[in-house]
Symmetry: C2
Subunit: 142 residues, 2 copies
């Protein structure tokens, strides 16, 4: 179980390395290429199936100049051949030479096949509440 979690963490690190390097070949290697993989980027409609998921990474990589990631793994849970990770992404990027920073909360799902863990789902969403003891404001939905 401990080893499983370490393997899943390595798969997660490979995902963020591909993201940071804006490298579609690396991204190809960390996903299962199935019709039922899914991806929800912050603010986007869901991308369904490997074709749409891959296309979304191509679009992002083609429009980003550089992305620096600092990823904090909050929790890894392994259940047999399935695992999910909750992590916080601190992202710095550039917008016409201006540095833009932000924080994203992510849920990443992985499936193991023949000993190999690969991603089957990524959901990233903006994080904007420094005080989590506060109730959810209705404006959070707007």
């Amino acid at each position: 179980m401990e080893d499983d979690a370490q393997e899943v963490q390595k798969a997660n690190e490979a995902f963020y390395a591909a993201f940071e390097h804006l490298d579609i070949r690396q991204m190809d290697d960390i996903w299962w290429h199935d019709d039922d993989v899914k991806c929800i980027h912050p603010g986007w409609a869901p991308r369904l199936g490997w074709h749409q998921v891959r296309d979304s990474w191509v679009v992002i990589f083609n429009h980003a100049h550089r992305m620096d990631f600092s990823v904090c793994v909050i929790e890894i849970t392994v259940k047999g051949d399935f695992a999910w990770i909750v992590c916080r992404e601190q992202i710095a990027t550039s917008d016409d030479g201006r540095r833009v920073e932000g924080t994203v909360m992510a849920t990443n799902l992985f499936e193991r096949r023949e000993g190999l863990w690969r991603m089957i789902h990524h959901h990233g969403s903006p994080y904007f509440a420094p005080d989590t003891s506060l109730p959810m404001a209705p404006s959070a939905f707007a």
Copy 2:
């Protein structure tokens, strides 16, 4: 497989019924009460373990007067005893008598034990991009 998807969809409907009714007892019934269940509400830090997850629902229910949900299931995927749903929540609530509407994209994970599907993870995030063919703006992270 078809029956499995229907059962998972029923569990998902029960989750949104509990949410809409602001009923913590109903919410108790749809989750597994484990240390590794997790919940990310829009803009919140993750809640880890049933104690924190339940507490977050109590906070939300205590601060909401009424929530009307219209839920569109986008895709259900079942893999053995593990399933995840991507769905779009149209939510209308009231803020000091003013009607506030918003859209949330959600990833909901379920696990089956002894024939019973219950939730193990909910990740909801604001949806604000009407045109998903556009690249992700850096401001989406901010």
